[in-house]
């Protein structure tokens, strides 16, 4: 092995010499990646490598020290580190190889994965199958449009969470939080328990994006005000933030003049949602959905590039880690099937398909609506004979986007664009209803799912429409 070659290839874009072959390479050692690894192993493929850039496995769960994980999977309420610990234990017990401190810098359509680590330098591996499990990053202030100077003391809520819960460093003492998603609510309680004063949580929308239980136990328990239809309109302070101006907003989310209020604070936390982290996926030419920000996948969670799979927050943002683990398990099963079918033993050069190259073109402009169409076409070509799942009306998206087989039940996850009560969720193909379930309530903040049974799936003729009918108001 030409080790010296590897060590001298630094910072350049040139792919390092390929030094090893691994059946299944998993990028990201969070709950999605670990579940995928365990299930690939249990499906009979043991030549696995998990690559994690952080010092330890566990992903975002390491900083989520609160309870609320695992009710579905373990039938008990665990903290984030405890939930991660269960999977870390399994990875260790099975002896699944993983490498921490390994930052993946490139993935190609022919499944060459390149990573950098302190001890090995730059290394490239040929993978039989690749599982993308890189998680999500937070929307940052740049996307928020807050005018004013940029003093210190403005953090995303997740960054602050990491500082406090992992490093033990308090960002400030008088806090204003913008955005009432779950991370913001959880941080309001955390900062309070650490002795800080949370002045207010401001939410632009007339409703909170967080779970009702979090409003109760994180805000109401500590008398922290939640100001709906409010936003931060100015940030004060030169070097360090000294305060913010908040204003009420009208129905079009525009600040209402005359409603300005000054709040003194030394810290502003921004909790404005997560975005799937797909920089690497783009490099591999994986087609992305402009709605989810994640890959377009079939029921095997395989992307538009054959042999590259995706699961967890990098595929679409989840609120429940239990579903992340389920999705990782599916990915592990199908990635190992791909490897066992010998599809994964192609020599790299043969594995580059024309479809993959085309999808690269589509994904590079994945923001326009034209691109959506061309992606869909590309994808159908890539998985010929697949049945498309088409979200309609208030169903915003579905995962998977296509179904490739009718031998197994398929669970379809989806989100809605607005809340509705007493609804019926239906999956239909032509005039045939494949599955229909009543739900008491659907809301944008909660991911829903329905399962189409294999025997019903067989009756599908062409695309499957997924739609919601609301109870008639009499």
């Amino acid at each position: 092995m030409e080790r010296s070659d590897i060590m001298t290839t630094n910072e350049s874009c040139v792919t390092a010499p390929v030094t090893k072959k691994v059946d299944v390479v998993i990028i990201g050692g969070g709950p999605a990646g670990m579940a995928a690894a365990v299930s690939a192993y249990k499906s009979g493929v043991t030549d696995i490598l998990i690559l994690e850039r952080d010092e330890r496995l566990g992903g975002i769960l390491n900083q989520c020290i609160h309870q609320g994980f695992g009710l579905h999977k373990f039938k008990e309420e665990l903290t984030g580190p405890e939930y991660a610990g269960r999977y870390i234990k399994e990875v260790l017990e099975l002896g699944i190889p993983f490498k921490t401190g390994a930052m993946v810098t490139d993935v190609t359509a022919d499944r060459i994965v390149t990573y950098k680590s302190e001890d090995e330098g730059e290394v490239s591996i040929v993978a039989g199958a690749v599982i993308l499990a890189m998680g999500a990053r937070e929307r940052s202030r740049g996307q928020l449009n807050i005018p004013g100077t940029r003093p210190q003391g403005v953090y995303t809520a997740g960054t602050a969470q990491r500082y406090v819960n992992v490093k033990g460093y308090m960002p400030g003492r008088r806090i204003v939080i913008l955005g009432s998603g779950d991370i913001g609510l959880i941080m309001a309680r955390r900062m309070t328990l650490e002795g800080a004063k949370v002045m207010a949580v401001c939410e632009l929308m007339p409703y909170s994006g967080g779970l009702a239980r979090n409003i109760a136990q994180c805000l109401n328990d500590f008398d922290i005000p939640l100001l709906l239809s409010h936003t931060v309109t100015d940030i004060h302070g030169k070097k360090r933030i000294t305060g913010v101006t908040i204003s009420a907003v009208d129905g079009n989310r525009n600040p209402i003049p005359g409603t300005e209020q000054y709040i003194e604070c030394d810290t502003l936390l921004l909790s404005c949602g997560l975005l799937p982290e797909n920089e690497l996926s783009k490099k591999a030419g994986v087609a992305l959905s402009p709605v989810t920000g994640g890959a377009i996948v079939n029921d095997r969670r395989e992307t538009s590039v054959p042999g590259i799979f995706s699961c967890g927050n990098v595929l679409h943002i989840h609120d429940l880690v239990d579903y992340v683990s389920d999705e990782g398990e599916l990915c592990g099963i199908f990635a190992s099937e791909f490897v066992k079918d010998n599809r994964g033993t192609n020599r790299p050069s043969e594995a580059v398909s024309s479809e993959a190259v085309k999808s690269d073109e589509a994904s590079s402009e994945a923001v326009t609506s034209e691109a959506v169409k061309s992606e869909a076409v590309t994808y159908e070509e890539a998985s010929s004979g697949a049945i498309a799942v088409v979200p309609e009306g208030i169903v915003r998206y579905s995962v998977p986007m296509t179904i490739t087989q009718t031998a197994r039940d398929v669970k379809i996850f989806f989100r809605v664009s607005r809340s509705a009560s007493d609804v019926t969720v239906t999956a239909a193909s032509g005039n045939e209803v494949l599955c229909s379930v009543r739900k008491k309530r659907v809301a944008p903040g909660e991911m829903e799912n329905i399962t189409i049974k294999a025997d019903r799936l067989k009756t599908a003729a062409g695309e499957i429409r997924l739609f919601i009918t609301e109870k008639e108001v009499s």
């Binding site: 490093k167 033990g168 650490e194 002795g195 239980r213 409003i215």
Partner: protein, 116 residues
């Protein structure tokens, strides 16, 4: 009468608890029996599980901890203040007791992660 949100699971049912003339509490809005139990406790002795961190003297990461049973809601801030002065040392295993019987509640503060 009291309106509240059940915090036992992510469904978050809206509960209403009514006390009749005999002092018997009647709960509505709960999708499962755990909600009724929660509402009763909220009216009599509201409790919460505390999750927090303590310093590890020999590592540069914090140790995440929780109370292994719910403690009275009114004691959360006091218990958290105590934990900010507590030190532990690695190695630690999930479930190791860090503080016994916090504030006389009968609940122990235990580690929620392994640090080698």
């Amino acid at each position: 009468m009291a309106d509240m949100t059940c915090i036992i699971c992510p469904v978050g049912c809206s509960l209403t608890a009514l006390k009749d003339e005999n002092g018997v509490i009647k709960v509505t809005g709960n999708a499962c029996p755990r909600g009724a139990k929660y509402a009763e406790a909220e009216l009599t002795n509201p409790v919460r599980t505390l999750t927090d961190i303590v310093k590890l003297t020999n590592r540069d990461v914090m140790l995440s901890v929780k109370s292994n049973a719910p403690i009275p809601k009114s004691l959360l801030l006091e218990a958290a203040a105590i934990l900010s002065t507590v030190n532990a040392a690695a190695p630690v295993k999930t479930g190791d007791v860090i503080v016994k019987d916090i504030l006389g509640t009968g609940a122990d503060i235990v580690a929620t992660k392994d640090v080698d």
